[in-house]
Symmetry: C2
Subunit: 218 residues, 2 copies
């Protein structure tokens, strides 16, 4: 029974990595679609998100079946419950990538990234992609040093997020209302994407070290 359980856990881990890799692809394409106003790439991201949603549902069903069949307790139980939560966060990361892609589609053929914020969004996008790549690797390797790197990258994303508002609310901002809306939403989506990654990284770190902290629930 124990051996079957370990095989099933390995299957859960493989599927989490598979979904995380799709999220990497989504955020790569979404940020490129956003920064380069590439509407056909945006369509790919939107189609790709359906796949992420489907895989998440299948993984959740598998996790529930494992709970029913294996009746895990203690650490094993927390691993399966964490998998349910990690899949929910990955699903939301996919949604954020989709939202970023949708912004470039709404404005097409106009550019979606407001002037004066191009380098900021290029950097936020680069960080979100790096965070997603590190997250997929963290889920694969369980190398928890990556969790700290993800947290550091998230701090940088938060600073850029704040800088977007400084810019938009500053005296030199010449954007139209549409630019202000796009900058506000795009910045929020980039920031939430990174937040979800941090939330997942904390859970992986907990599973590796056993240090459960209340904030892990979030």
């Amino acid at each position: 029974m124990r051996e079957v359980f370990q095989q099933e856990l390995a299957e859960v881990q493989d599927r989490l990595v598979e979904i995380a890799e799709l999220v990497v692809r989504s955020i790569q394409d979404a940020t490129r679609a956003f920064n380069e106003s590439d509407v056909s790439l945006a369509e790919d991201v939107i189609a790709n998100d359906k796949k992420i949603d489907e895989l998440t549902v299948l993984l959740d069903e598998l996790s529930i079946q494992i709970l029913a069949r294996q009746q895990p307790v203690a650490r094993d139980l927390r691993i399966v419950v964490s998998a349910l939560r990690i899949s929910a966060s990955l699903e939301r990361m996919g949604d954020m990538a989709e939202h970023i892609a949708q912004l470039s589609r709404y404005r097409f053929p106009d550019k979606v990234v407001p002037k004066g914020l191009r380098s900021t969004f290029a950097e936020m996008g680069r960080l979100d992609v790096a965070i997603a790549e590190k997250l997929a690797e963290l889920l694969r390797s369980q190398d928890i040093r990556l969790a700290d790197e993800i947290r550091n990258d998230d701090d940088d994303v938060d600073e850029l997020h704040a800088s977007v508002f400084d810019k938009v609310l500053g005296e030199t901002w010449k954007g139209q209302a549409v630019d202000t809306v796009d900058a506000t939403l795009a910045s929020r989506y980039h920031e939430r994407f990174a937040d979800h990654a941090v939330s997942i990284a904390k859970k992986v770190q907990y599973l590796a070290t056993g240090d459960w902290a209340p904030e892990l629930a979030s």
Copy 2:
């Protein structure tokens, strides 16, 4: 054992109702703080959210203990897993209320609600409060007709959300960038609040009827 399990499930339900009632209070206060620029009420909402977060963590711990001790299967297992997901959504509803409250605090002593959108946000706030009240009652009574009402209210919130962007991007919009940012974020938070309620309502409906649909994972 079965009787103990039923008692524990009743305890989970009571705690979900308790958290939902705190969310009702939060969104009532947050929308009032937002619409009336009441910064002291906004502070109450922010303090209240810590309580919601704490209760969510405690409920999640209880749910995990029930999984470990009672080893539920089939429908009983799905009830406990759903409780974990419902608590996560309630926690996010609390966060959205907190974000709405924070907006009025950032702009104080200025009014946060942009001119021309006062009646729209008053109506969105009224709907979010009604949705939260119906959700608490749904969790208490399991009267699934309330789930349909919540979905209808959410459709109305979505329409108002779209109307905010129509207004802000229309030719008559005279708002400054700060007004555009506030309208964009506030509208998004109101809309997400309602989305989480719909997600919870679907789960309660499923538990009552047994009709599991893939979209219930979200």
